[in-house]
Amino acid sequence: MSRQMPTADPVVTPELVKQHGLTSEEFERIKKILGREPNFTELGIFSVMWSEHCSYKNSRKELKKFPIAAPNILVKAGEENAGVVDIGDGWAIAFKMESHNHPSAIEPFQGAATGVGGIIRDIFTMGARPEFCLNSLRFGPITAENPKSEIRNLKLAENRRLFTGVVSGIAHYGNCVGIPTIGGEIYFDESFEGNPLVNVFCLGVLRREQLARATAKGVGNPVFYVGSETGRDGLAGAAFASRELTEQSREDRPAVQVGDPFKEKLLLEACLDLLAHDAIAGIQDMGAAGLACSTCETASRAGSGIEIDLAKVPKREPGMTPYEILLSESQERMLIIAKRGKENLVREIFAKWDVPCAEIGRVTDDGMMRVRNNDAIAAEIPAKPLAEEAPLYSREATPVAAAVSDRRIADLPKIDNRRALRQLLLDPTIASKNWVYRQYDHTVRTGTLVKPGSDAAVFFVRYANKILAATTDCNSFYCALDPRVGGKIAVAEAARNLTCSGAYPLAVTDCLNFGNPYKPENFWQLREAVEGIAEACRAFGTPVTGGNVSLYNESPAGVVDPTPTIAMVGLIDDEKHITTQWFKEPGDLIILVGRGIGFQPTSDRRDADATLLGGSQFLRVCHGLKIAPAPHVDLVHEIKVQNAVRDLIREGLVKSAHDCSEGGLAVAVAECCFNPEKLLGAEINLKAADTPATTVLFDESQSRIVISVARADLEKTESILREHGVLFQELGEVGGDTLSIRVNEETFRWQVADLYDDWCNAIRRTVEDETERIPSL
């Protein structure tokens, strides 16, 4: 370091090392890699590259448990910015999900918006044209149980602010870039108060041969910086995301980036334009840890070195230090390693789209990431150890015992089942999310065949002539009660949702949202959930193609319920197989596929009926109870049920299919009645021996699907179900304008229009004052 430039950088002291979130052992390791003490800039680079967000140092050993290989997987988890799956006829899909929890907790609008921007870049970095987005969101409660408490009301107002802010942020960014947001899920629960979860998914389509790699290949190839100028925003955001949220986190607001979807759109088109010209050796977006991360990672992947000059980097403001330039997380930027001789083409294309473009360096062969600032050297680090040799830890794990209820249903305060269903449909977790998705452009790109609101979104990729289905799922409540079972159910439910839409599942991306891994209970939850997901993914033959880990999801109020969000993508072979959840015609027969009413997985339990309601939304919403056990799931049985329903769909027998999830059978059937074209009633008759009606209506037993078929097809349907060896039972008939459910001798009746009004308007009435009706229908 003879040419060390004179700088005003602070001296590296143990204090400073600690402030950078590095332990003394990690610091020793850095010194060993460098063969000397790092300077301030280098310390900053190591700090972000070895943060949990970039290095997965506390989770990587766990993530290795996921199945990642299959013949159709073209790019496996961890290899690139996103996994790539072959979908046939020369076409492939790239998809991934990422979290933007911490930024959204501090600044919901920009936090969520830049989350969308980041995931879109991850997709077009692969050479894929982004086709659609999904999102999975968690917030604190937005409805009051006790409106008199002033403190509670302040919290509710804050939760609503985060909820509405995140939704407008997602809408702002996705709508402007012109990528439809076609589905997802939203849950509200106390555990997310102060630490919302914002997980965003994007999928893109590419020709197999167009696959782009994030590698700095070819010694001497020029390195281009393209996109927005670098500013001081988002400094060390990756490190910020790797800490717990505290009362002081607001001061971290400068760590939240500000997005510009217009620039993203131009960058997207320019990059895809360039990729079509065979001028690129490698391409990577500048996301977390910005320029520092993209340079060392591309070099490390290629086994090459890279040299850049910060003086050539387009900057938004004067006087930025190398530390700031390298660690800035300014949005809408990419690093492109062009093929030698194509420099002018790169410049022409970016000039056409009015996107800043600068040649800032070249690929070298010495394995070093060398950062110049004019004539001085600002940082010089071996690329591979920096990018890939962060220490990996296996943290201590201690099981958390979930509260198991020993109360029988009979002992709970009496609740009228008629009222209970309405209460459930009014609960924002179950209620229609139309207030949200009406703000998302979900029809741009003219591929949305099944709009948000059904079990899975279905999207037609016109130019590839492929029909895709996608869903995100995770019941955090189950995961809190039993993370292993909760993880399995998340995968099973995702697959079930795809099955109900007529698809067969292909692959999975995940977003693991947990608490501080240094707390043994949190680490145990992470490990359990990962093992549950891994087991289920093996069972379904759906490899994990990548994803993201978000730890430190804790606010002063406590840790979030563990939330390993699963996004699953499937293919639909034939347009005719597309199925939605709504009943279609009066006179059709309703069948429940899966184990029948009152099935008890653990017969030795004294409190069998309460057991079935464990983890249910009924207990949470109507009794304020979060009690174990989570529902049981038998993967072999689950797969049988799904295969049976998929075969029925392929035979053209199924008019509607909807899985039983939150709120149990009663909510599932009610939702089937809410056909957006015309509300339909149903008459249902259940024999349940001595299971209480409440359990029959609201238990959340898994592996159950409500289908409707034409009366004439009943026999054929039943014989196919028998061939598959799955249990089923005829529930009743579609028709009329009431939903009537008879359990043994008791009949419960609701006007469908009333139920629909509750369900359809609950969220809007909560967050808006006006009484304007939603004009559809």
């Binding site: 402007c176 870039v177 012109g178 131009l266 009406r438 003219t446 037609f460 559809s776």
Partner: protein, 244 residues
């Protein structure tokens, strides 16, 4: 006969417009980059939806200064058919080819939904397959689609039969509940006095395939083709004379 689909930086329905037009028999569309200056090769012009220039300053306010707009304006004055959907409608208003303005939705929120619109004139170059009173199901997706004009201009629009589409309920009634954005008199689409420039907030490009819930948008593109092949645009000056 080709349709030109103008690509402004930030247009995001350009691909949808080209794909939907090319998906119809006898129609062909091509992209025209906004830095181009001539549209002589094209028989009709489409300004697609999106966020041209990020909608910064005001929707369409910067796009109207794009080099191609000179050609759009002169071709419009010469009688060529010009269709502006969503952001394209906003640009046409900013460019002065259509009266009025599109302001923030009354709800102050972006709205994406399927709406019903009612055809308000018997025979326009853009809807002549659809008689007065016909209902078209079309998607909307916009944050600034609330149409506003001063009372005097509004009277003229009505008197000159320039209101082509209004938001209606499924029965065809013009009621406030069917108005997704608070537009004055439920106006969803208007044309200029000459009848050859048409702007609407709904997206015909997203409703040209029955798989997408509605193929009513295709009627607008087909109508344009019929108008052009019948040489009907030539009668535009006459129409001006009539209304004058």
């Amino acid at each position: 006969m080709k349709f030109a689909v103008i690509r402004f930086p930030g247009s995001n329905c350009d691909q949808d417009c080209v794909a939907s037009i090319n998906g119809l028999d006898g129609l062909r569309a091509e992209y025209v980059w906004h830095k181009e200056t001539s549209l002589d090769d094209f028989g009709a012009i489409v300004l697609p939806g999106g966020f041209a220039y990020g909608d910064y300053l005001r929707c369409g306010a910067i796009a109207r200064f794009s080099p191609i707009m000179k050609a759009v304006i002169s071709d419009a004055h010469a009688g060529k058919l010009v269709l502006g959907t969503c952001n394209g409608f906003q640009i046409l208003c900013e460019a002065g080819l259509l009266p009025g303005a599109l302001v923030r939705n009354r709800s102050l929120r972006f709205v994406c939904d399927m709406v019903t619109t009612r055809v308000e004139v018997d025979d326009s170059p853009f809807t002549h397959g659809c008689p007065k009173g016909a209902l078209l199901r079309l998607p909307v997706a916009h944050g600034e689609g609330c149409f506003y004009v001063d009372p005097e201009t509004l009277r003229e629009l009505n008197a000159n039969q320039q209101v082509i589409l209004r938001y209606a309920d499924r029965q065809g009634r013009i009621v406030s509940g069917a108005n997704p954005n608070g537009s004055i008199e439920n106006i969803a689409g208007i044309c200029n006095r000459e009848g050859n420039v048409f702007g609407l907030m709904p997206h015909p490009d997203r409703a040209s395939d029955a798989r997408l819930d509605s193929a009513d948008g295709a009627k607008i593109f087909r109508s344009m083709l019929q108008t052009i092949t019948a040489g009907r645009t030539a009668t535009a000056p006459e129409r001006v004379k009539q209304v004058a």
